[in-house]
Symmetry: C2
Subunit: 343 residues, 2 copies
Amino acid sequence: MLNIGIIGYGGMGSYHHQQLIKEEDQVSVTGAFDIKVDRLDLARRNGIKTYHSLDELLRDDTIDAVLIATPNDSHKELAIKAMEQGKHVVCEKPAMMSVKELDEVLDVSKETGKTFMVHQNRRWDSDFLMIRDLYNQKQVGDLFQIETRVHGANGIPGDWRHMKVHGGGMLLDWGVHLLDQILFMVNSPIKEVSCDLSYVLGDEVDDGFIAYLTFENGVRALVEVGTTNFIKLPRWYVKGLEGTGVIYDWDLSNKLVKQTGAIDHHNLVPIKAGQGLTKTMAPPSEEAVTELDFPPVAADFPNFYANFYDVVVNHQEPVVKNEEVRRVLALIETLFDEAGQID
Amino acid sequence: MLNIGIIGYGGMGSYHHQQLIKEEDQVSVTGAFDIKVDRLDLARRNGIKTYHSLDELLRDDTIDAVLIATPNDSHKELAIKAMEQGKHVVCEKPAMMSVKELDEVLDVSKETGKTFMVHQNRRWDSDFLMIRDLYNQKQVGDLFQIETRVHGANGIPGDWRHMKVHGGGMLLDWGVHLLDQILFMVNSPIKEVSCDLSYVLGDEVDDGFIAYLTFENGVRALVEVGTTNFIKLPRWYVKGLEGTGVIYDWDLSNKLVKQTGAIDHHNLVPIKAGQGLTKTMAPPSEEAVTELDFPPVAADFPNFYANFYDVVVNHQEPVVKNEEVRRVLALIETLFDEAGQID
């Protein structure tokens, strides 16, 4: 069993404790430190030990590893300090503010022999696993266009996520998830990117973005995060050579249409569309398509914390590899550059 | 009354005759020429005079104007010939294969004093007029993101639209409509464009595209045509500073949500989304938003053919100005360039 101390018992830190870290994964939360007294009180009420200082937590020999769930700009220093004091590290995303920071941390991981692993938890999201299965199993042929969107209308919730110095903004906050999912799924180098950052809310950080990625294998990905969307577009919209799939929302409501017959171009019945007629945009005949179900899927890789245990104890391969984390961070830097953001 | 002779009595030519040209607009179809005998037979059955040759039609002094509804690569020669023989011209879209061709035609229009007007009929589409009204009347504040999509699953219907030499492909065929609508609505110079053309069907012309336009006034437009989409995304998706609007399909089904109260960031209830919790992507509280109706709208500009009559006879301003047509063609050329299409 690995004993974990949580650094930063805020929304995410306490969520790890209450929901994500399970004893059957051989990982157990035993303590926490937070700079806020009310969060420490909560941790205590939740039955774990609390510390008066970070150093006190790091000096505790019963703690094997720490979870870092603090604002993004503090991850580097905390991770380095923890590893130097002999702790393995699970780090919330985005792992670091830059590739450069990550490289410093990875150097320390190498020197100390301590595991550093980033909690890219959305690799286990069911909606993503359904799309990934469609990508791998090709139920509607090779997917060549993948649109992944997360839409909300609440702007940026009011805390450090508003602030550039803390690594706020939607490209870092949500973009890191969507980009990590895409790169984890599409096993091909990126050929071209474009990106547009949104600043309509007047924050100093982006309140959303649209990015468009072209992979060398031909796949295109449109990746969008919006916090000013009072109506949502579907969470996933994907096109395969033989059909189209949609997952509408977190409830996993979905639709999957497969072309099962030839399109009879010469007998298409044109439809009235606005002021014109169109055959091109007429629906295909009913015989030409079939509606399928998205197959139920489970991850074909272990749970995050079960894997963390195996990485630390049994030297197995991590599901979230640091070179993958590095690639996503490098892509985010490229997207910021491409969008012309001024540092 | 202006008498019109139709050159090319195919799908569009006959549709003009049967549906679009109305006597109350003081325009009347009196004749037609087509190179196909069966189309001439149809014209005759539809009660108009048919000609044995183009020259015969152009020599007929009872014909005031021609409608050119032939493949795109023939428009230039036909328009020039008709104007030189004293006829005004209505030309189907895309008007020409290039800005250069259009400029030649406009020179002849100037020399001969004959009207040349392009049938950008989708400026009168109800879905477009509803969005244009939202843009102008600001029912959900200034629109800053406009997504316009036309999705079908039939590929490119089987005729000259497959062929590059005839000016086929979706950027020219449907793109010209969507881009014309956007430029007609958003009165601002374009600052930046990006474009990706789709060639998944193996045609020599594009079977769809995604373009992203940034205007100097800050508006962004995502313009997409797809012919491999077995499930449609909404026809229009627009974001204003105070809400979001969607028109789903040609049937004008729609949704309009306006922010009517402040978003209370500190009391947002996080939702479970996949493996995580999110406040950012939680729905706004019910008190913060109101669902409105898209107001019914009619065009605040005359019908195409009534306007054509007034342009020819009363020297009024055309609704479809040739400089606007030129701007759209120039944009299409830029998009082809940007997408790296090889001529």
